[in-house]
């Protein structure tokens, strides 16, 4: 009579049989009853099968099969409900950002690094915000400079020296609008020479370090928020933030940039630690299966970020880690290349702006990386590359980069050169029937591929703000951007301040500008707001 030891099954069956027999008297609620009965039956069989399965697992263990994953019929519950976060994230401090958008454009660079021969480099004063329009140039055409030698300084903040990116001969000082200095062009030596430095000792006070950095020409890599201006030497920043990954459309993989130079990066971080009495934060890439190489850096607070662009923007990271502001909440930010520059000075005693520039975008037949210094001439950089006709060259990414020509130079802070086709072609009923593929966050436009040949077409005309919460859709920040933009337009200083203008720089709102159905120039508006705030003190 072993069968009665397992009482649940038979008794359930018995119950079901009894109830089924009496269904005639149950009356109107038959459907409910059958439903419950069917559910009970399914549950019963599920229990039987799962118990049997467990016995099988025990049996297989006893005969020496260790792999639990394959032993049973079903996956264990913890396998189904286990989060898919990789192990390294479980220990780290992770921010998961649900908002944002990765523009599905083609032209992601392959892991190939080329070394084109570039002879002309330039340092361009307009790359640095917060300067007077006409800086004092201390070199003349024909002068020979070493890498790191000062070439100009701002008339207001004369302590900050801006250095030559390479050694060579100054061949031109080009002027732009209203006699402002557009660029100082240097013909690079074949063999690069850096100026030499007498480093301050590791125990040197902060003032001495600051003085050294100002003098060394490396100071301008420190950028200060609010407003993204060149850091003020008289300010002690609350914290310093470095984003170690780039989520911008087809952006470069920064782990390639530091490959083999991790020690340099580490010394750069150590310098930063001495510049603040707060913390140095590294924003790490939490999207990959494996840990970011920057996780090995010591002495900095590490924060992982996971999500679509703009998760890699340092502004977004600051917003989530500890929002910045004016006064005591002033912070400094740097890019990975900027930390490397500091590290080179302190570790190897030389001014070296070597970086990888990613050649990206649909117009490159063969997107890749090139090794060069900052401010390289674009024409020479692209000499060996096949770039499609009717393309737009952009220093930076498609969202916040600057349009350039072959004669131009890569901007000081940029590590990406994008080329995409111009979209100067009318499209019949393009607004109604989007036949040519285009990127969009709207579900009404089917985006079928991850590699769209995206063009510079505006896809519509500028209109008044129509608030359909698209900005909130792509901005992973607790900021009401539409209202902020409106308060900038009407010059409402108090609202601007309260709604978070201090936390934003143009690159942070670039994605919202992309998504805007009214085609409003948000980055330009924000800059206008910054100008207002700065002029009002």
């Amino acid at each position: 009579m072993r069968i009665f030891t397992r009482s649940a099954g038979p008794s359930l069956l018995l119950l079901a049989a009894l109830l089924l027999q009496s269904q005639a008297s149950v009356g109107g609620s038959n459907l409910v009853f059958y439903g419950i009965a069917a559910l009970a039956l399914i549950l019963f069989f599920a229990i039987v099968v799962s118990v049997a399965d467990n016995f099988m697992v025990i049996e297989s263990k006893s005969i020496g099969i260790q792999d639990e994953q394959t032993a049973g019929l079903f996956p264990a519950f913890r396998q189904i409900f286990a989060s898919r976060t990789p192990d390294y994230l479980k220990k780290g401090h992770l921010y998961t950002l649900t908002k944002g958008y990765d523009i599905p454009m083609e032209g992601k660079p392959q892991d190939i690094i080329r070394d084109p021969k570039v002879t002309r480099f330039a340092i361009t004063p307009p790359d640095f915000f917060g300067l007077m329009p006409i800086p004092k140039v201390v070199v003349e055409v024909g002068d020979v400079v070493k890498a790191g030698d000062p070439v100009f300084f701002d008339k207001k903040m004369a302590r900050i020296k801006f250095a030559a990116p390479v050694s060579g001969e100054v061949i031109a000082v080009n002027r732009g609008l209203k006699r402002s200095i557009a660029e100082i062009v240097i013909l690079a030596d074949k063999k690069q020479v850096s100026r030499t430095y007498t480093l301050p000792s590791a125990a040197a006070p902060r003032e001495e370090l600051v003085e050294f950095l100002l003098e060394s020409g490396a100071w301008p890599v420190l950028r200060q928020r609010p407003y993204n201006v060149v850091a003020d030497p008289d300010v002690i920043p609350r914290d310093i933030f470095v984003s170690t990954f780039d989520t911008s459309p087809v952006g470069p993989d920064l782990s390639l940039t530091v490959r083999g130079r991790m020690d340099v990066f580490q010394s750069g971080v150590e310098v930063l630690q001495r510049l603040t009495d707060g913390l140095v934060y590294l924003g790490l890439d939490g999207r990959g299966e494996t840990d970011s190489p920057f996780a090995a850096v010591s002495g900095a607070e590490k924060r992982y970020f996971r999500g679509a662009h703009p998760a890699g923007n340092v502004g977004v990271q600051i917003h989530h880690i500890h929002p910045c502001g004016v006064g005591e909440n002033t912070v400094w930010t740097l890019g990975v290349e900027d930390v490397l520059l500091l590290g080179e000075i302190f570790r190897n005693g030389r001014y070296d702006t070597t970086r990888l520039v990613a050649l990206t975008g649909g117009s490159f037949s063969d997107p890749c990386y090139v090794r060069t210094q900052t401010g390289a001439n674009i024409g020479e950089l692209l000499a060996g590359e096949a770039v499609a006709e009717n393309s737009r060259l952009i220093s930076g990414d498609v969202l916040s980069g600057t349009q350039k020509t072959n004669e131009g130079f890569v901007n000081f802070f940029d590590n990406q050169l994008t080329a995409i086709p111009e979209g100067n072609e009318a499209e019949i009923f393009g607004w109604l029937l989007p036949l040519k593929p285009r990127a969009s966050i709207s579900p009404t436009i089917p985006v079928l591929s991850d590699h769209i040949e995206i063009t510079t077409n505006t896809h519509g005309e500028k209109r008044a703000f129509v608030v359909n919460n698209d900005y909130e859709q792509v901005m992973p920040m607790d900021i009401y951007l539409t209202q902020l933009m409106k308060s900038i337009i009407v010059n409402d200083l108090e609202s601007m301040e309260g709604l978070g203008i201090y936390e934003l720089v143009p690159e942070d709102v670039a994605l919202a500008e992309f998504a805007c159905v009214s085609k409003q120039p948000l980055q330009q508006l924000l800059r206008q707001g910054h100008d207002t705030m700065i002029s009002q003190g």
Partner: protein, 465 residues
């Protein structure tokens, strides 16, 4: 395509010489083509979505309502007369009858509205904006089919000039244009929009309590000639008396006096649900409106927060009214209690709540801007609208007024959301500052030396200082 583009661009008039022609050309050109403009400054790529496409999605969602509304005008007309009572019976007559009613309304709305829009665009020197695309599609649907066209023209002109252009055009208006035109008629010509007769087209009062169909006009006779040639049924001359017991009242009109019992004596629940009842042109069919609702919600054209907030507000309001109403209804119970006792879901399918919350309340320009504000805004529209509908005997339906009311208060809702945001962000920063302090304490002291005593030594090597 290139050839067509070249052909069209040949006609481009000069802007300086004839601004009106240029504006007109520009409007049609951008309608026909997506212009070849490229980005300058700012971002280099733009989303494929623009305002035209955003607006046209709403118009697309309304198309099924147009088709249904056209048929329903004819269906109601003939049902009142006791002819062709089957749904598909005499469908050619019903559709033709409906078209003859709806096309003039549609044309007048667009000629007046777009005409004003073009004039203002010329005067102000900007492009013709797309806002009227949606307003123009919505206005015919919320009008009674027999509305005199001159009243419609005046109402549209009022709404577009004072409701929109006075504020600066599309995107700047504070009230919903379509509702503004309706509210204008509602208050300026109340008898044309709140009486019993108007909801069924082509039925006139011959004598006290005697209704008959109006005489068919030459357009109908023209179609009669075709139909008789095909051997189909024809309109005839008109003047038929309506069937016995026909009142032409809408369910809400009955419900206000007699509650659900009165309604179900005239209309059965399923016809109220499917929309084969008298009413404004496009707002009667629940399934088709829900179809449009889902389309707009899933394409994110309309914000789901307004709609869901509205549904919640409606149910809350409805159950609240149920709770207030006496549990047992007798013949002596006042009509208002009978109205209050109607189950919220039945309240929902009567009248035009679903249409209003889907197509009117979600207008991105006049609704609240913030996501949180949209929840509040949707909830209050439904809640207040239901109160107006049930508790205020002067207005048979409440959505028009409640949406306009909330349009007015949307900036106030937003204001408080922004204030909350400002406070929340300040609080968060303060909290982070404490966390930072803890982190620094835990880390211990990294030597950050700032003693003023330290002697500065020149560490540079070039001497430029």
């Amino acid at each position: 395509m290139k050839a067509l583009h070249d052909f069209v661009t040949k006609f481009e008039p000069e802007h300086g010489k004839s601004p009106f022609l240029h504006t007109t050309y520009d409007a049609f050109y951008t309608f026909l083509f997506q212009p070849p403009t490229v980005t300058t400054g700012g971002v280099h790529v733009r989303d494929g979505m623009d305002l035209k496409r955003l607006m046209v999605q709403v118009v697309l969602a309304l198309q099924v309502l147009y088709i249904f509304g056209t048929w329903n005008i004819g269906h109601q007309h003939f049902t009142a007369l006791g002819q062709y009572t089957g749904l598909l019976e005499g469908i050619h007559l019903k559709l033709v009858y409906g078209l003859i009613q709806i096309i003039p309304i549609f044309v007048v709305t667009h000629v007046v509205g777009l005409g004003i829009e073009f004039l203002y665009a010329t005067k102000k020197g900007h492009a013709v904006e797309e806002g009227f695309l949606v307003s123009g599609a919505l206005i015919p649907l919320i009008m009674p089919p027999d509305l005199p066209l001159w009243i419609l023209a005046v109402a549209v002109a009022f709404a577009v000039v004072l409701g929109k252009e006075a504020f600066g055009g599309t995107g700047m208006n504070i009230w919903n244009i379509a509702l503004l035109s309706r509210v204008f008629i509602f208050f300026a010509y109340p008898t044309t929009i709140s009486g019993d007769e108007v909801w069924v087209s082509g039925i006139e009062k011959v004598d006290a309590g005697v209704y008959a169909s109006e005489a068919y006009n030459f357009v109908h006779h023209g179609f009669d000639w075709i139909f008789s040639g095909l051997g189909w049924a024809t309109f005839g001359v008109g003047g038929n008396l309506v069937v016995d017991g026909w009142t032409g009242a809408t369910p809400l009109g009955i419900a206000a006096k007699e509650g659900w019992e009165g309604v179900s004596a005239v209309y059965d629940q399923s016809s109220i649900f499917w929309g084969t009842i008298p009413g404004s042109i496009g707002e009667s069919s629940v399934p088709l409106i829900i179809l449009g609702m889902f389309y707009l919600m899933f394409t994110r054209i309309a914000d789901y927060r307004v709609i869901v907030g509205g549904l919640i507000g409606f149910l809350v309001g409805g159950f609240m009214l149920n709770a207030i109403a006496p549990s047992v209804l007798t013949d002596d119970t006042p009509g208002i209690f009978k109205f209050m006792a109607i189950h919220p879901l039945r309240q929902m399918i009567m009248g035009s709540f679903l249409f209003a919350i889907t197509f009117m309340a979600t207008d991105p320009v006049s609704s609240a801007d913030t996501p949180t504000g949209k929840w509040i805004y949707g909830f209050l529209i439904a809640f207040i609208g239901l109160i107006i509908r049930v508790l205020n005997p002067a207005y048979p339906e409440g959505w028009m007024l409640s949406i306009l009311l909330l349009n007015t208060f949307a900036p106030l809702i937003d204001h408080y959301v922004y204030q909350a945001n400002i406070k929340r962000r300040a609080k968060r920063t303060a909290k982070m500052a404490i966390e930072r302090h803890e982190l620094i304490t835990k880390r211990g002291d990294i030597e950050i030396l700032t003693p003023q005593t330290a002697n500065y030594r020149d560490v540079g090597s070039t001497g430029v200082r």
